[in-house]
């Protein structure tokens, strides 16, 4: 396995860690400090974590600046990250933003419009954003996915799903 080098693009990541850690510390200062029955208090732990994150950022920046171009030891094990194995394709920011935006819209309409109307539209939107789906999937998949999930929740788990605009037609 080739050991990767530590590129300069780590510097913004390090700066983000320092800024985020500092924000956490600043935010934690508003939390009350310890009392006799709880010497550490609710403030110290989040403050320590914020400081820890900022320190990690500072050390990362120092390591990047000092050892630029040097090889970095890779972790021994990587059980967790499936994307390590899957060799992802080229980055498409448009698809990412569209998928997040469509999901936000789906959530906004989920209760007022109802599950049965919004879910097929959401599925179609995701299929179009991703692309590459067969034409028949565009009508078959939304119908089957919506019906299957509705059956599981409404009749299997007995959990009410939002009926929204179909309130008069469907039992709650």
């Amino acid at each position: 396995m080739n050991a990767p080098t530590r590129p300069l693009r780590e510097l913004p990541v390090a700066a983000f860690l320092v800024a985020f850690g500092s924000l956490v510390v600043a935010g934690a200062r508003n939390i009350p400090s310890g009392v006799p029955t709880d010497p550490l208090g609710p403030r110290a732990f989040p403050m320590a974590l914020g400081a820890g994150i900022a320190c990690c950022g500072a050390l990362l920046a120092a390591a990047t600046a000092l050892f630029r171009g040097q090889t970095v030891r890779t972790g021994i094990l990587a059980d967790a990250d499936p994307d390590d194995e899957a060799a992802p394709g080229p980055f498409s920011p448009g698809r990412l933003i569209a998928a997040v935006g469509v999901t936000l819209g789906y959530l906004a309409a989920f209760e007022p419009v109802g599950y049965l109307i919004t879910t097929p539209l959401y599925v179609i939107a995701i299929l179009l954003i991703h692309g590459g789906a067969a034409r028949r999937s565009l009508w078959l998949a939304p119908t089957l996915i919506t019906a299957a999930l509705y059956a599981v929740f409404r009749f299997g788990l007995l959990i009410p799903v939002p009926v929204g605009l179909l309130e008069r037609l469907l039992p709650r």
Binding site: I31, D38, D79, A80, A86, L96, T103, I126, G131
Partner: protein, 504 residues
């Protein structure tokens, strides 16, 4: 109650009520999920997590154990049939599994994978029971300082071992710990990071955060980085059981796989991927026909698949005995406990003996159920694999939204899942570890409460952690775990420089 009485009570609790159907559903979902490349065991488990909320704690744990066991086998199906592992742990099985498929022996390879995996899983549960019970008695001597030091050690070790960059792994772990501080502080009633929102008073919903970090982020990776799709073989596939003679021919590889899986599983942070590759190499070393490895050896399938499944029992040793999850999947098991109001930690066995023994019984049963479910579900797995990838992604996203919503009928939960999905995606892009963040999320409450309790006992004196031998040793080990990567890094740098000087 004796061990045997506890185990029998565990069996009757595991099969009571919806036990068996829930186990079958868990194994079936795990097998299908594991067969889908990109849906690792941990992702499949996190997707199942919202559906366990309506179950009691023991049944929920048994269902998740079923998903875990099923995913271990499911990963080998595309590895053998398509030369594409469904889970990272099944990667080693493709060397010989796919060769066997090319020789027209795919059914036999699937059979060996299923039977040997079941054997490995069952033996690992026996070892788990043999180790957890005595270890559980030892940790009864632990007080708050020891529990704090233990949790800190576990978190540091896991953050360090599972990531490319130790600093990023550590920062991810801290981030996970930080997430547990949101809401009302249980000791003083103070508000922390609620930003004036009443919805955050009870803290972040752990299911939504976990589903976001694992599952939503994975879906976003697949949407933003569409990759080439492997062709699924046409026609139907089936599983052929190995004959007794064939099983005898792979016994050595099965034994090696079991031992390796158990040892690697017990080490926190080490997981199925490492164990299956180590088992493959060791099985080749111990084999009478090492020349067949890579050319279609049954032993080459048996060893990694046995190890892959034996890891489950090994992983659960530190999880159940010490409250330190050995892997992401084990962390999800602990999260399920938290959701059911049970605080994981070293006293789990002593305080919730019945629950732990029900899990033992459930683990035996789900491993036994793997064979019939694995036989039946194979066709379903192929159907799912033949589905268009966008359809799968859309179905999983819709399932996540309704699953997290249904937990409390609260729209904030799917919003949180989406938010943490984006955070998890960003973490992956920048080399951070969503898995370490989840470990922090699971251990956070334990770390803070035991730290504060320790200082309460010592009237605010920090010397309590070094004055007590067990906590002092654990803290020294934690320090070692922090310094070790730095020392190794400097050593490797010196070697690189020396080599460069030598070359010039």
């Amino acid at each position: 109650m004796s061990f045997l009485e506890n185990l029998l009570a565990g069996f009757s609790a595991a099969v009571a009520g919806p036990g068996i159907p829930v186990m079958i559903a868990g194994v079936a979902w795990g097998t299908i999920g594991g067969a889908i490349p990109g849906i690792s065991g941990a992702v499949a488990m996190s997707l199942a997590l919202p559906y366990t909320l309506s179950l009691d704690a023991a049944t929920a744990l048994v269902m998740l154990a079923g998903v875990w066991a099923g995913a271990n086998y499911g990963g080998s199906i595309p590895a053998i049939l398509m030369r594409m592992p469904g889970t990272p742990g099944a990667a080693a099985a493709l060397f010989d599994g796919y060769e066997l498929k090319r020789q027209g022996l795919a059914a036999k390879a699937l059979g060996v994978s299923l039977v040997c995996g079941t054997i490995g899983g069952l033996i690992s549960v026996v070892v788990l029971m043999a180790l957890v019970v005595p270890l559980g008695s030892v940790v009864l001597a632990f007080g708050s300082p020891e529990v704090f030091a233990l949790a800190l050690f576990g978190l540091t070790l896991l953050a360090g071992l599972t990531e490319r960059s130790f600093l990023k792994g550590l920062a991810s772990g801290y981030f996970g710990l930080l997430l547990t501080t949101v809401g009302i502080d249980t000791l003083t009633g103070s508000l922390r990071f609620t930003f004036g929102r009443s919805e955050l008073l009870s803290g972040l919903d752990i299911v939504s955060v976990m589903v976001g970090l694992f599952a939503v982020s994975e879906m976003l990776v697949q949407i933003a980085h569409p990759s080439r799709r492997e062709a699924v073989p046409e026609g139907s596939a089936y599983t052929a059981f190995p004959t007794l003679a064939e099983l005898r021919s792979v016994w050595r590889a099965t034994a090696v796989g079991t031992v390796v899986g158990l040892i690697v599983g017990i080490m926190p942070g080490a997981g199925a991927t490492a164990s299956s590759f180590v088992a493959y190499n060791e099985a080749r070393r111990w084999s009478k026909r090492p020349d067949l490895f890579g050319k279609g050896s049954m032993e080459g399938v048996a060893a990694p698949e046995t190890a892959n499944n034996a890891v489950q029992g090994g992983d659960l040793v530190p999880t159940l005995a010490l409250g330190i999850p050995g892997s992401n999947s084990a962390a999800i098991m602990l999260a399920a406990l938290i959701l059911h109001g049970i605080v994981p930690g070293p006293f789990l066995l002593s305080k919730h003996t019945h629950l732990v023994f029900t899990l033992f019984a459930g683990l035996i049963l789900v491993n036994l159920l793997m064979i019939p479910v694995g036989l039946v579900i194979l066709r379903g797995c192929l159907l799912v694999l033949r589905l268009d990838r966008p359809v799968l992604i859309a179905a999983i996203l819709a399932m996540i939204v309704i699953g997290t919503y249904a937990a409390d009928l609260f729209l904030l939960n799917p919003l949180l899942a989406l938010f943490f999905g984006v955070v998890g995606y960003g973490m992956r892009r920048c080399g951070f570890s969503p898995a370490a963040a989840v470990l922090g999320l699971v251990l956070g409450f334990l770390v803070e409460s035991e730290l504060r309790r320790s200082l309460l006992i010592s009237y605010g004196s920090w010397t309590i952690f070094v004055a007590r031998p067990i906590s002092a040793v654990l803290l020294a080990l934690t320090l070692g775990a922090v310094l070790y990567p730095a020392v190794m890094y400097l050593r490797s740098r010196r070697h690189t420089q020396a080599a460069a000087t030598g070359l010039s």
